[in-house]
Each structure stands twice: as C-alpha cells, then as structure tokens.
Symmetry: C2
Subunit: 244 residues, 2 copies
C-alpha cells in the first residue's frame, strides 16, 4: 500500500508521499514514490505513484528515457508544451506499461497503478492531475482541490474538514502530516519516511523539499499532540442524552 | 454500503448502525440493520448486518424461524446455552444462506455479508463477536474492544484515538456519532437515520434504544461543532518548519 497526496493551494502545490512498499507483510521496503523534473525558469513537474512497483518504476524510467544512452535522452515531460499534454503522456505511458505487463493475463488489475501529476509550465497556471490505470485522467478544481492515491480513506476526514486553499505551505504540510499520521496508525502498508516538495506558483524551480524520517521529533510530537487535541475536541462537543 | 459498530464498555455494549441500503446510486432505501432478541431477566442478543440485503434478511428470518407457523416458532438464538453457541449458530446460518444463494455462481462474493453479534446470557459476561461470510468468527477483547462492519475506514481514526472502556453510554454514543458523521460525509452509501441500543451489563433487558433521524438537531449540531473543534485542534498543534 501507499499514501500520496497532492494539494492545490493559492500559493502553489504541495506534494507528499510515504515510502513503504510491501509484497505481503514480510517483504517490506523503502522506495521513493515521488519524482520531480525541473527546467529552471521554465517548468517543474512532479509525479507521485501508487500501485504495482514494477509498473510505476517502468513508467518513470520510460518518462526519463532510460532506454536510451545518456547523451541521447530528451526527457519527454520536459518537452511537452503544456501540463495537459504531460498528463496525457504519463497516462498513455502508464496504460501501455500495464497492458504490456498484463499480456493475456486474466487478472490485469495485478499490474495496476495510479499517479498524481502536478506542476507548472511557463505561460500557464499550476495544474494538478489524477491519472487512472486506463490512461485517462481528471484535473483538480476549486471544488476538488486535492487528490489522494493509495490508502486514501483514513486520512480523508481531516483533509475535508481543515483544508483551506489560502493556507501557507507550512500549515498545509502540518495538515498533511496529521492525515498521514491517521493513515499510518491504521494501515501497516503506509509508513515513514515521508517525502515532500512544495512547488511555489510562478517560481519555476523546485521549492522546499525534504524527507521526514522515522525518528523525526516533529512528527512524533504531532502524532502525540494530535491524539490529545482530538480527545479535547471530542470532550468539547455537546453531551448526548438518550431520549427516554 | 453500511456502517455498524459494536463497542464493548465496562458498563456493557453499545450498538449503532446506519439504515441506508443501495443497489447503485439510484436505488437507495432505508432498512433497519439491527435486530435485538430479548428474554427478560435471562438474555439479550443483538445482531447487526452489512452486505447483501437478501442474504442478511434471509439470515435474520431463519434465526427468527419465520419458516414456521407463528405458534411453532422457538427462536433459536433464545434457546442456545451461550453467546459462543449463538455466534456459531449465526455464522453457520450465514454461511449456508450465502452458499445456497451463490449456487454454482462463479462470483459468490456478490452474496456475501458480515455480522456483529453481541449480548449476554445469564451466568456469563457480555460478549461481542464479528462473524465472517465463511461462518467463522472472532471475539472482541481488551486489545480490540470494538468491531466495525461495512465502510469502516473513515470513522476509524477517531475511535482508535478517543475510545476508553470506562466511558458512559452517553459518551460512547457521542463518540460513535462523530465516527458516523465522518463516514457519512465521505460515503454516499452510509446515511441517517441511525439506530442505537445500549445494553447494560447484567441488566438482561433491552436498554436505551432509539433512532437518530435525518433532521435530528443534536446530530446536526455535533456535525458542525466537530468541524470547528477539529480545526481548532489542528491549529493548536505545533507549527511545521521546512528544514532548509
């Protein structure tokens, strides 16, 4: 399992992803699920992935043109003229990889993956897309300003309740860490370290980025404090009375 | 979809279930998913159901001996000597109904259902079980003091964080309503009205029970206040700082 969130803000886009992959509970590893391409001053593109690791790594390698000699590579996401075209490229690559890996297999879902693609190309606004295994995609809007992939349910209620597009990147990162904490507490397939990248609108360069490690004191503190704050919030609610 | 929770407390067991059933989004209905049998002074048994409605109704009817003339009925859950035997009876009935409905169908999961069974038989402690479609079951313990069935994920984080077995029934009902509110906000297949029944340990009679309707002012108030309390709890957390 996996948990990744892409969050659109007035200030830009915040990306956050966990790093746990597992094939059964006795075969777990740490893999980076976030990749960013940058052409400073012109574009920044970030892709986050959930699903079959062989599929997602193949897609990233193809986008990166790893099939060619280093001197011949022209990374395709850096060549497309718009975010829409980049989303289409990622979607088509994903669909083709899944089809090829599945072959005539009766359960192609085994090879499925979903992706979040976001960023900005000079001359247009930042855009954020959710790419389906079928290769089609949807775009974040005012009404649906964030996308989650992987184990999305445990961490959703707090996003729905506390998200505000006027948030600073620091506030949004705090919100996502609370959402990740709820997910990590409930699903063994999601865990620290957590990677993040904050893309600032119209900066056309990679923004604040980093990794929150398993022993990160801030994350540990937020996890404990959030438990306390939730219990306090709960006790502040009006009391229930039975009707009889 | 469905959401039901059975919560073990020092004071007894609290049962809560929603009432929405749907076959597609354009075919929704209200059905009670909680049934209680009582032999005052001797036992109280509650069953909550999630899954295929034809399956769960067939199981309840069989347990109720609806196949016999009213005067010949000896409701089997009122005859078994222990909660364990009742759980086994419910499990076997459920498994048999699913097998019969599925026949040689290649996708027997269509007919699946899960159930929560709880209550007390004189001479023993209250007990709470989760029944699987295969007919086997597990029992709630100190470590896992509650069971959820149906759409369990959205409402789980608050249960994990705020549950305390020393709670009063009123506090526990408030907790479950918050958990239901998070679930209702996220899944169209779960909705008000909500049914509840509080079984008080060693009372051997049906306790506080009732239905929280769509226009219930307390529920509406809790839903709004919980949003505010969450945002307040969130803003009380220490601020995140980027490392660079």
């Amino acid at each position: 399992m996996t948990y990744c969130v892409g969050l659109k803000l007035d200030k830009g886009i915040l990306f956050m992803s966990d790093t746990r992959t597992n094939a059964g509970v006795d075969n777990i590893s740490v893999f980076r699920k976030m990749v960013t391409w940058e052409k400073p001053g012109e574009r920044v593109i970030t892709v986050m992935t959930a699903g079959n690791l062989a599929t997602t790594q193949a897609v990233i390698s193809l986008l990166d043109e790893h099939g060619k000699a280093p001197e011949d590579r022209a990374v395709s996401v850096l060549e497309e003229p718009s975010m829409f075209r980049i989303a289409r490229l990622v979607g088509e690559t994903l669909r083709d990889v899944i089809r090829k890996q599945a072959g005539n297999d009766q359960s192609p879902n085994t090879f499925n993956a979903t992706m979040i693609v976001g960023g900005q190309v000079a001359g247009a606004e930042p855009r954020l897309f959710l790419i389906y295994p079928e290769g089609n995609f949807i775009e974040a809007s005012q009404d649906t300003p964030f996308f989650q992939i992987g184990e999305t349910k445990y961490g959703r209620p707090i996003l729905v309740r506390a998200y505000d597009r006027g948030m600073s990147f620091e506030e949004a990162a705090k919100l996502l860490l609370v959402s990740f904490d709820s997910t990590i507490k409930a699903n063994l397939g999601v865990d620290l370290p957590i990677d993040y990248m904050a893309y600032e609108k119209d900066s056309f360069k990679i923004g604040e980025q980093g990794r929150i490690d398993t022993d990160d004191p801030y994350f540990g503190n937020v996890s404990v404090k959030w438990g306390e704050a939730l219990r306090l919030a709960f006790s502040s609610l009006p009391d229930f009375k039975f009707k009889s």
